[in-house]
């Protein structure tokens, strides 16, 4: 579905000092190579400024690559932008493709004409989205009066009316509350499994990846640092997990085999026990702990996606230094 080889994009950035104006070249995307098969759901993550949006803009044909090979749905995006637009759907979390002053339903009608969707297909697809996303009452509401959560449901419907093979989502859950996020994820997962729509999404929210994307790609400084299933990446990069225990009474941390580090808080009321996931299971650890001390509450903490990314980046820097 997506084929990317040694994709590169440079920008000229003006660095002005006084009256002199110099340009320096910044590489936003640096020889990126990956492929996405039809029906996959891929999460594309990385810190701000990592090159995610630049990649997405090239994939959708809005930005012309500096060099490299790029095919989306068998088409060269920047050369056949209009052709491609009919086959893919794009949702930008921070931009709207709906008509601000028109009712939601009228926006959909306009898109039907723009994408030349037959009346029959349009009705079937719209009805499905309206039902699954609960849009019935919103169809007559002007877009400017919708809440962010309602509008995002509208945006996603708008991107699906022409039944795209690939749906690209740029931070679709940004700014949404938990319930709206969950509703959106559920819907997207359904679209992916039932309709076989390929998903590519960028996000800062680990839960999006966890719920939706079996595969994760991490990018930073314009380079792909890792590509694979989330669990594997996490296990590989951050082999340690943490067990947090709250005691009933303040006391010393229990001494359990398998624990590699201990950090105590709140005068000995809370302890963070670090352990290696490959060697010790959480269940073993908990059994041992409750034997020794009286536990009020406990939780197993997985490393945050930001940690994973940071570790990956450190690893990359080290590898570069070794070369």
């Amino acid at each position: 579905m997506i084929e990317v080889r040694e994709l590169r994009r440079e920008f000229k950035v003006a660095t002005s000092k006084g009256l002199r104006r110099n340009y320096k070249t910044v590489t936003a995307v640096d020889d990126v190579t990956f492929a996405v098969a039809a029906g996959e759901a891929v999460g594309y993550v990385g810190p701000n400024g990592a090159g995610k949006s630049t990649t997405i803009k090239m994939l959708t044909g809005i930005l012309v690559p500096t060099s490299g090979h790029l095919r989306v749905s068998g088409v060269d995006p920047s050369k056949q932008r209009r052709d491609l637009a009919k086959r893919i759907g794009v949702v930008f979390g921070q931009r709207s493709q709906l008509w601000w002053d028109l009712p939601l339903g009228d926006s959909f009608d306009l898109l039907k004409s723009i994408y030349r969707v037959s009346a029959q297909d349009y009705k079937a697809r719209l009805d499905e989205c309206v039902e699954l996303l609960g849009l019935q009452e919103l169809l007559i509401t002007p877009v400017r009066q919708l809440s962010l959560g309602q509008r995002m449901r509208g945006e996603i419907t708008a991107a699906l009316l022409h039944a795209p093979e690939l749906l690209v989502l740029d931070e679709p859950t940004i700014g949404l509350d938990l319930e709206s996020k969950e509703r959106l994820r559920e819907f997207l997962a359904d679209i992916n499994t039932r309709r076989g729509t390929t998903l590519l999404l960028t996000t800062h929210d680990l839960d999006d990846i966890e719920r939706l994307c079996p595969r994760l790609m991490v990018i930073d400084h314009g380079r792909v640092l890792a590509d694979g299933p989330l669990d594997e990446l996490r296990a590989e990069v951050t082999p340690e997990r943490e067990l947090v225990i709250d005691l009933r009474e303040p006391g010393p941390a229990p001494d359990v085999p398998g624990v590699t580090a201990v950090r105590s808080e709140a005068n000995g009321l809370r302890h963070h026990l670090t352990f290696r996931r490959a060697e010790t299971s959480a269940a073993q650890l908990i059994t041992q702990v409750v034997r020794q001390v009286e536990v009020h509450d406990l939780a197993v903490v997985e490393p945050e996606i930001d940690d994973v990314v940071r570790k990956l980046y450190q690893r990359q820097v080290q590898q570069d230094a070794h070369r």
Binding site: K57, T60, R81, Q94, Y115
Partner: protein, 240 residues
């Protein structure tokens, strides 16, 4: 809408008062304009102003500035064509609300020079529509200059200030000295306003006027088409 209409009519009255005073001082006729022709010129001009939309709202330039233009660019359409279609649709509405009212106002209350040949009515509509297309083309160019300038308000302001004088809104082009008249008719400006008025009044050769307009419509739309292509290729889209 009502406020717009009122403003439009009041400005029409002001322009008429000034031009009438000039006409009286010049013994009732300047160039090919007598009192009736001047009235017609003013009221048709007031109507055309809103119909061809000489001064737009710079909305596209704002979308370029904020980066929202990406949404317009990834649709399966020719952006310029789609916006032109939208503008012609706007023209249909403006015909009823902006063109017809001041024209009817002028016809009913002032001496008016109706076309001698009834075929001039549809020809006037045709000419006005081409003027709208040219006006759209120029506004489109002014707006997409934001791809390079980022902030096009200077150019936008310059266009708003100069277009009125150059296209024959302030005074008829035929009031200008000969050299300026000739120079202006080589430019697209009179095609925006003076040409349809001349078609209505029967000044000059209708066929020539329409050809002149069609020529500029094609040239300006073509420039817009290629400029947009270049903009999309060369220019960074703003924001995350």
């Amino acid at each position: 809408m009502l406020a717009g209409m009122t403003t439009n009519v009041v400005f029409g009255l002001l322009r008429l008062a000034i031009l009438s005073a000039a006409l009286t001082a010049a013994n009732g006729e300047i160039a090919d304009y007598d009192i009736a022709a001047t009235n017609t010129y003013v009221w048709i001009g007031q109507g055309l102003l809103g119909f061809v939309l000489l001064w737009g709202n710079n909305e596209l330039a704002e979308r370029v500035r904020s980066g929202d233009v990406v949404v317009d660019l990834y649709r399966p359409w020719h952006l310029q064509g789609a916006l032109l279609a939208q503008d012609i649709g706007r023209g249909g509405y403006a015909f009823l609300t902006r063109l017809a009212p001041p024209a009817v106002f002028g016809m009913l209350l002032f001496p008016f020079q109706f076309p001698e040949n009834p075929v001039r009515w549809p020809l006037f509509l045709l000419s006005a529509t081409i003027a709208l297309v040219i006006s759209f083309g120029v506004r489109f160019l002014v707006e997409i200059s934001a791809f390079w300038l980022l902030d096009n308000r200077g150019l936008y302001g310059f266009w708003n200030v100069s277009s009125g004088l150059l296209c024959g809104l302030t005074v008829p082009i035929s009031f200008f000295p000969e050299w300026a008249r000739d120079a202006l008719w080589m430019s697209p400006f009179p095609a925006l306003l003076q040409a349809p008025i001349d078609v209505f009044l029967g000044h000059g050769n209708v066929g020539k006027l329409l050809l002149y307009q069609v020529f500029w419509a094609a040239v300006i739309l073509a420039i817009g088409h290629f400029a947009l292509q270049r903009a999309v290729r060369k220019v960074v889209v703003q924001g995350g």
